[in-house]
Symmetry: C2
Subunit: 320 residues, 2 copies
């Protein structure tokens, strides 16, 4: 059994808890929260602790799974955690990944711990596909499209704006860009390819113009895209925007010796947090396995051989 | 520069040679052939040697790329080569992979060399997808479909039958099976999923009934499938069956916490040997990189982190 700590108890943390209880190899040692542990309940009876209690309990944890909101929480907490325990996260701000990688590598290497960062689907599985496709078709150039679906990271980023009570962001691929990309000849900007559709519940009396401006000008998250912001009430949010579907694909068209090859990976998810948690669970297993062999430092999904998701040769050979 | 030896100069060897000459990091030190080297010419002026000359020249080669026909050649030659030089092959008989893996592991480990086996698209990229998909969706179960396209391994297996001058085998997915598999609830046999269509040029006076029987009863290659055998003449083969397209996909539909996730990888190739050679080139780079760090023994594509296809962190981080 791999003893995991779940840090943060939002959609992602709850999904990971449920996956762990349904598995026969992941044991949830505790949930660590910024909220008052005494006020928290779990359908599985998991023990709750204050977030910083993890630093006292680290020696009893195999892997800490960081499930807090992405934009502000993960990086600062991640670097502190990597110094005391093996970690897995699905940090999803592409533009900050290089800096986060360097900081985590230093912390984890010094502590002789192993950290896997960006273990979701993008970054994560999509990153793996982009690299694999371009590794095999060096002249190909890959394109990534997301949606239509809810981005947890972008929704959370909006929720952190003062005066916002709730938010949901849908990423929508543009049909014409998709058609061009499939022909394999395109240079497409982020703005060409996707539209960002935001639904926001504002607090009574909040300055809606300020909220709208904070969203559309937010670096990395919204500034590079065309974005719409629609204010709705809490009831409309509950009725129309409770599900968290997502979808997307990575495609690469390249020439080898003058002959065309087309590669495409796609996913379609009824629940984005459940699938992201499933990816984290898979790489949590890999983390425990590799850490037990003495590996340390930081890794992305690209650095982890797929065989590390499984125990032993017999389990792997059936795929070959 | 990585100095490679190309063993075998059929479609695959020729494709790999051309890829190497178009690259800035793969240098073809020589082509090693069972035919008479003096009779061989290359459009790039590459030097030809007798196949067994590789054993004397191994110390000057970084990676030997085994491009001989699959069914009989690769395994025996592979084990001999793994004892003297790093190797990459695209051996494609799934049923024999486990034994081949064990034999290569012993040879390569004893020699402190690194061998990557099954580095094509199936086994190869498709194996990687099956494992990745089931690692993330343990209750999913993946399905693989091939075609419509020419299988090099199966065509070569037919050509080795006495009395066969040339052969082309098309793998054809069955539409109803595909529909069922996409619903994610199927248990489908090999025979349910694909049809194997064979076109054969027989020598004058050859026993066609014997040839037909040798094909449809061939273990691993044809026995588990419905197979048609059509005899044609050499001119019809040249006109109608010269191209070697292929296609296929791996799909996996699974539930996470009661919500459905659908993953799918597909490829569509104008030239199967060119793409297979491109996969071998990518894993040849990985081999040279990992061997130079002291790794030895046998690896499949599942054991190689995708980051090993690239040089250094800066080149990798752009995919994340």
């Amino acid at each position: 059994m791999t003893k995991i700590a779940i840090i943060g108890y939002g959609n992602l943390g709850k999904a990971l808890e449920r996956i762990a209880y349904a598995s026969d190899d992941l044991n949830v040692a505790g949930i660590f929260t910024r909220r008052d542990p005494k006020q928290m309940t779990s359908p599985f009876g998991t023990a709750f602790f204050k977030q910083d209690d993890i630093f006292d309990m680290a020696q009893d944890i195999d892997v800490a799974c960081i499930c807090t909101g992405s934009a502000n929480d993960v990086t600062a907490l991640g670097v502190r955690l990597a110094a005391v325990v093996n970690t897995v996260d699905s940090f999803d701000t592409h533009a900050k990944m290089s800096d986060y990688f360097a900081a985590m590598d230093k912390a984890a290497t010094n502590a002789n711990k192993l950290s896997i960062i960006g273990a979701g689907w993008d970054p994560g599985l999509f990153s793996l596909m982009r690299a694999l496709f371009e590794g095999v078709l060096p002249n190909g150039g890959s394109h990534t499209f997301w949606g239509r679906g809810v981005s947890q990271g972008h929704s959370e980023a909006i929720r952190r704006i003062e005066g916002v009570l709730d938010a949901r962001q849908y990423t929508v691929p543009k049909a014409e860009a998709l058609r061009i990309a499939r022909e394999g000849v395109a240079t497409l900007s982020d703005r060409d390819k996707h539209f960002r559709e935001c639904y926001v519940v504002a607090a009574d009396g909040a300055d809606r113009d300020r909220i709208r401006k904070s969203i559309v000008e937010m670096p990395n998250y919204f500034a590079p895209y065309d974005t719409s912001v629609t204010f709705i009430d809490a009831e409309q949010m509950r009725v129309e925007h409770s599900a968290m579907p997502h979808a997307g694909f990575v495609l690469c068209t390249g020439s080898v010796n003058g002959n065309t090859s087309r590669l495409e990976f796609s996913l379609k998810l009824d629940s984005n947090p459940d699938f992201t948690a499933a990816v984290m669970a898979a790489y949590t297993r890999a983390n425990a396995r590799l850490a037990s062999k003495g590996e340390c430092g930081v890794r992305t999904v690209l650095d982890i051989p797929v065989s590390a998701l499984f125990d032993g040769r017999a389990e792997i050979i059936r795929f070959i």
